[in-house]
Amino acid sequence: MSELWTEWGDWVVILLRCVFSVAFVMQIVPLLIWGERKGAAYIQDRPGPNRAPIDIPNPLDIPRLLGDVLAARPLVFKPIVSLRAAGLIHTLTDVVKLAFKEDITPDHVEKFYWFIAPVIAMSIALCTFAVVPFGDTFLGHQLKVSDMDGGLLFVLAMTSLGVYGIMLAGWSSNNKFSLLGGLRASAQMVSYELAMGLSAVVVFLSAGSVSLSRIAEVQGQPLSLFGVVEIPALNWNVFSPFGFLAFVLFWVAAFAETNRTPFDLPEGEAELVGGYHTEYSSFRFALFFMAEYANMIVASSVTATLFFGGYNVPLLSPATIREHADLLLGVLGLGAVPAFLTFAVVAWKRQGRPFYSVIPKDDPRQNEPKFFTAVWLGAAGAHGALGVVGFMGGLAALSAWAEMPELGGDLMAVILGITALAVKVLIGCWIMIWVRWTVPRFRYDQLMNLGWKVMLPLALGNVFAAAGWIVLRHELFGPAGGS
């Protein structure tokens, strides 16, 4: 009986890991769509997502409105506040639009391949995250979906499969623009895969493994500055000269693999209408759209894990976090209160923006800043009053109840680890958005020259130089970890 339970328990743990890693990627996607719009608006000085609101009715009207809902009458009310929430509502309306638009299947497409292409694109993008660790261990369980020996090679294999979605979409759409988009995508991705794989070899050499867990673990060790100062948990690969060059090459190749500007030739709208997804509408288009963002998230999380320590928090090694979990909880809990108060002040000050003097005085949008000030003040109050004490007491009670003294420390390490990874991923994604709205697209020959004549030789040379340095250091100073 207990054996059976253990086996079922294993399945549950595996399932939870899968759900988490898919959820991690899918939760960031809407945030990125919003970030892309805001980024475009700020960088190119054009209107951002500033329309779609949610109207909040006066609480006194709610009984009448409930009656209207039950009687299926149209809802008519004067809102007391109209929330645009910095444009976040736009993402919501986007989803509604994409889900309810007419799903057109043109007559001339190759049906089977046309249907599976977006599914392939999306599922491959989600699979790739399987080997990225989002923490070291939690109660003895590894924190990633699969602990296969392949590690980063699995990521490279999966990204190389991702091209099938785009190729099949382009080919099965049966028109010359889509076909050209698909051909461009396949040529581009095959070309940049080599540079991507070779630049990662430097990281393999310094960690002595291709497993992303091992690579992240090595980067959690202290960074030694000429043997004089030791900075804890900052042995990131990007701080070594070979690692830095490898990072630049890997990051450029990641842009090419995700088809982001300046490498977005497969969908170059000036030449190819919409490229490989010209014929797609409604949710099939949404799948391609989400796959692009999922690929961005996976590319940045792999880059973060390879070069920026992955789940490691700078200056706090996992051991330190476990040891001082209570102290950290206190600092973070108390630190949140001033942060929330600052947000409240910022929200209050937004009343002075020219927008609010342009719209009519009785416009429900006038109340937006006040509403958010109240929200942040409430958050600060709730957090200050019961948050810190409640969290700390709750954590201690939970550890005692489960008879697991290490639970609190592990929980803290996991939460901080996931947060650190998420912050690094978001910074990476923001750089991708920033680049997209700043630089123009490559010409095709420039793209091929950069891939084959610049990046490939640089990556190869980097591998040889790094390998030579590691051997030389071994000869001079004897065996030592890190790089």
Binding site: L153, L161, Y164, L183, V190
Partner: protein, 174 residues
């Protein structure tokens, strides 16, 4: 238990997609069946603890070589299937069958030899602190320090020669 069920499922998928490669009439369907076949084989390799071979199978065959195949098919835009009737044996078919039979005999003979070898002889010693069989470390030891250094270098030289040859042949036209 679960692993053996999955192993046979993926083996079945490999056989079915392998058959589909030669039975499909449309070129692109054949090529994609081959991709599925490679994928199923990679899954089988994982079940056999050969993670490295599995990943390289997907990375090189499914991810690079087949992409180029499909690239060419798409570029030439071969949509109409050829008019070869299925069911009649041409000369080529007979030669193909003979080649397949020869390969089968060779495989069975090879497997027969393997079955009678004690497992420890194929497997790297698991207890002696050696890297486990099928991992990247074990593959590296075998290829660069073990018995296969000369064949490995010879093959890489051969590949370089063929690449240079291809470039020379293609450049002559321009």
């Amino acid at each position: 238990m679960t692993e053996s069920v999955l192993f046979y499922l993926f083996s079945l998928l490999a056989v079915v997609s392998g058959a589909s490669v030669i039975l499909q009439r449309s070129t692109i369907a054949s090529a994609l069946s081959l991709v599925v076949c490679f994928f199923a084989l990679a899954a089988d390799y994982v079940m056999l603890d050969a993670h490295f071979v599995a990943v390289v199978q997907v990375l090189v065959y499914a991810g690079a070589i087949m992409v180029l195949f499909i690239f060419v098919i798409m570029l030439l835009n071969i949509r109409e299937p050829g008019a070869t009737p299925v069911g009649t044996l041409s000369n080529r078919g007979i030669i193909g069958l003979m080649a397949a039979a020869l390969l089968g005999v060779a495989l069975i003979a090879g497997l027969d030899g393997l079955v009678h070898t004690p497992v420890t002889a194929i497997n790297v010693d698991l207890q002696g602190g050696q890297p486990a069989y099928g991992t990247i470390a074990a593959m590296g030891e075998e290829l660069f320090r073990g018995n296969y250094l000369l064949p490995f270098e010879a093959v890489s030289l051969l590949l370089t020669v063929s690449m240079v040859g291809a470039v020379v042949l293609a450049k002559r036209e321009v």
